[in-house]
């Protein structure tokens, strides 16, 4: 592996960060707010660090898979570090731990916050906060559609469809091709949502920041009450539509946009994703009707927004779900664990793995009934090997074990079970809000410092699909 090549490409990511920091600083400058210096100084550091490798390192056509993987994981970690600098420099509620938490939460598109008063933040910093979601979203898609498929059969199955031919190509070609798709779908969705939100009466600044947070399935709002602040059904419907779209594999979304919508709708994963969301909305509506919502209209309005928001790992809120009946809370907790499709900006175990889990279950039952039968598993038209099923089951098990261990540690720090478990699950799934103290109307400021660091570890583990991060730190495997 050539670390200097890695440095050159990380430089590009830092320059992307610097561009958004410059825009945020410009917003601060025109508003004459206190975030101008923190933003412009961070922009300067990111730009200088980003541009410097270009002077020494010549451009290279060939990049190995390992180099590509290192570029993306390191870029992520470095972006989180750069992202926390404006917060640390600005001060206020941002201690070192809080700034790291907010930055990781932004770049991993989790959307959990430590802020008790979001509206006290200057506009420049609010814009940067939302931009971290958007930049993180781009990173997720490159990671999911371009790097992971090249890392074995499991990746190929999970991030299949149009990306599989790309996976066999070299990193540079894959990245270029993927970036074209991302620029088209990702930017297109962001622009469309911004226009739609403005059409519904939202201001330009709020529309852009909320679009950033929706398309990246992040959840950072510029208001203390999140989307509930606007009290507008039209805004909620627009956000819901774009949340659902952002939870779909971007490769499939690109195919659908290209005119082959049937390909997308025939996908088992997409069908399962949409059916579970609809089932969740119906069950939650029935459960919350009566208490806390008297009318069916209100019940369906709040149930659909909350289920879709959590089910796509976005994390926006229009009501406090901690006062919902236990069944509805457990339903939300299920979506916190599952989330949406692979190849999207969503987090969690992913619908794809749930589908593979169900296939494995069906296969096991058939094998019990007919011990000598040869049972072949297929996902759509693609045959699924046993080791792929096994790897998916292992991932789900490991995922739950990590959530359990971090819940245990957070409980040990003096936090109640519900808060600890839901916070860990929400962090691991990059969802955002949990229940208890960290509910949709609360925040993570009450969590002890060590707990915050553990949760950011969960966020990174969840975002980089556990093995991604583990592999990065297992240096031996690089030799």
């Amino acid at each position: 592996m050539r670390p200097y090549i890695v440095l050159r490409y990380i430089g590009t990511v830092l320059l992307l960060n610097a561009t958004f920091l410059l825009v945020s600083a410009a917003i601060s400058f025109f508003n004459s707010d206190s975030a101008f210096f923190p933003l412009i100084y961070t922009c300067l550091i990111a730009a200088l660090f980003g541009a410097f490798p270009f002077i020494f390192v010549p451009p290279t056509e060939e990049i190995s898979n390992k180099e590509g993987f290192t570029i993306i994981v390191t870029s992520w970690l470095l972006s989180c570090l750069i992202g926390m600098v404006p917060y640390v420099l600005w001060g206020g509620e941002f201690t070192l731990s809080n700034a790291w938490f907010e930055s990781v939460s932004g770049f991993t598109t989790t959307g959990s916050t430590i802020l008790t008063d979001i509206e006290a933040l200057p506009d420049g910093l609010l814009f940067w906060r939302s931009a971290t979601h958007w930049i993180g979203g781009v990173g997720i898609i490159i990671f999911a559609l371009s790097v992971l498929p090249s890392m074995g059969k499991v990746g190929m199955i999970l991030y299949r469809t149009e990306t599989s031919p790309l996976a066999s190509a070299n990193f540079r070609y894959r990245t270029q091709k993927m970036l074209q798709i991302i620029m088209f779908v990702y930017v297109g969705l962001t622009v469309l949502e911004t226009i739609a939100l403005m059409f519904c009466g939202m201001g330009l600044f709020d529309a852009i920041t909320h679009s950033f947070a929706t398309i990246a399935t992040g959840g950072f709002s510029t208001k203390n009450m999140s989307v509930a602040y606007y009290g507008s059904t039209a805004i909620e419907i627009v956000i819901m539509i774009f949340m659902v779209l952002s939870g779909v594999n971007f490769g499939l979304l690109f195919v659908a946009v290209s005119g082959k919508i049937g390909v997308m709708l025939k996908s088992t994963v997409i069908r399962f994703y949409l059916i579970t969301l609809m089932a969740g909305v119906i069950l939650a509506t029935v459960n919350i009707h009566g208490a806390p919502f008297d009318s069916w209209t209100e019940a369906i309005r709040y149930a659909s927004f909350q289920v879709i928001s959590i089910g796509t790992s976005t994390g926006f809120a229009t009501t406090d779900t901690t006062v919902w009946p236990p069944f509805a809370q457990l339903l939300i907790l299920f979506f916190t664990l599952q989330c949406a499709c692979s190849g999207s900006t969503s987090g969690g175990i992913k619908v794809d793995r749930t589908v593979l889990f169900l296939h494995a279950l069906r296969k096991r039952i058939t094998m019990v009934e007919h011990p000598h039968a040869i049972v072949k598993t297929k996902l759509d038209t693609m045959p699924v090997d046993d080791d792929v099923l096994e790897a998916s089951l292992l991932y789900i098990t490991l995922y739950v074990v990590i959530v359990f261990i971090s819940s245990l540690i957070i409980c040990f720090l003096g936090i109640d079970i519900m808060t600890a478990f839901s916070a860990s699950a929400a962090a691991m799934g990059n969802v955002g809000p949990g229940f208890g103290l960290v509910g949709s109307a609360g925040n993570f400021s009450h969590v002890p410092e060590l707990g915050k660091w553990i949760l950011t570890g969960d966020m990174l583990l969840g975002r980089l699909e556990i093995f991604g991060l583990l592999l990065f730190f297992l240096l031996r495997s690089w030799k």
């Binding site: 200097y4 101008f36 923190p38 200088l48 660090f49 410097f52 002077i55």
Partner: protein, 276 residues
């Protein structure tokens, strides 16, 4: 000065990035490459230093504001309260038939009050403070009217009921108005002190960030110098030594297009010529 022209920073920022990016990357000479590294390092430290100086200057101004503006008003308010209390004692003396002694106390206290009031009036620095000072004036004028009545006539001599019902109520009203001014300045002092605390934090953080960044940058800088300058020189030296020892041709691949690649090709030409 820097804050007054933040555009300079933005323009500097954009131009410095664009200059570096639009440079012919690896076609830059070794001297330019090394110089750019030091320039980047110096820029980071200089900007951090300038920002720290700006924040420290602001701290100085805040402290000055704290001492000169708010403390002056608080001091004036204390003097007004003291004068009011002396006037209150004076009026009681007037009512208890120690007229002359009472009047002289009231006159001296009135003079002190007026002086303190003028200080407060000329030191309006907080939004809304003017209204508070105006309220003191109104309340004190009413109180003074009652003082004059007791000083001038004999109608209220020994009338303690009149004192408690009218004079004392007016005294309390004036005192409350002065205390409100004091509270306002107290709150502003607290706000300024908190501001100083956050500014002190902001003055130190750029330095910390600059030191950490400079340290990381120095590591990257030395790594790149090692890979793209030192290593090729070492390889070239070894290649020449191998040629001298065993006659092996010098075959070194240099990715960059700087003086080193020219040196390698020159050495290659020299060896080829000497072999002939």
């Amino acid at each position: 000065m820097i804050y007054e022209n933040p555009c300079v920073f933005v323009i500097f920022e954009i131009t410095s990035i664009l200059t570096i990016i639009t440079m012919k990357e690896n076609r830059m000479g070794i001297r330019a490459k090394i110089l750019s590294g030091f320039l980047i390092l110096a820029t980071m430290l200089l900007v951090a230093g300038a920002w720290s100086i700006y924040e420290l200057r602001n701290i100085g101004m805040s402290v000055q504001k704290l001492l000169q503006d708010n403390y002056k008003s608080i001091d004036a308010a204390k003097l007004m309260i003291e004068a009011l209390e002396r006037e209150d004692s004076g009026i009681l003396l007037v009512l208890s038939e120690k007229r002359n002694e009472g009047i002289s106390i009231i006159e001296a206290a009135d003079s002190s009050f007026t002086k303190a009031y003028e200080i407060a009036q000329n030191n309006i620095t907080i939004p809304g403070e003017k209204e508070y000072v105006g309220a003191i004036k109104t309340a004190y004028d009413d109180y003074k009217t009652l003082l004059r009545q007791s000083m001038a006539g004999t109608t209220h001599a020994g009338d303690l009921n009149w004192y408690f019902q009218e004079v004392h109520a007016s005294f309390m009203k004036t005192r409350l108005a002065v205390e409100s001014l004091m509270t306002l300045n107290d709150q502003e002092m607290y706000h300024t002190a908190s501001n100083v605390e956050s500014r002190a934090y902001r003055a130190t953080m750029p330095g910390v960030i600059a030191i950490v960044s400079a340290f990381i940058f120095a590591i990257i800088f030395s790594y790149l110098i090692n890979i793209f300058i030192v290593n090729p020189v070492v390889k070239l030296t070894e290649g020449i030594q191998n040629y001298l020892d065993s006659g092996k041709p010098v075959e070194i691949e240099i990715e960059t297009k700087d003086e080193l690649s020219m040196l390698v090709s020159s050495v290659g030409s020299l060896i080829a010529r000497s072999s002939k």
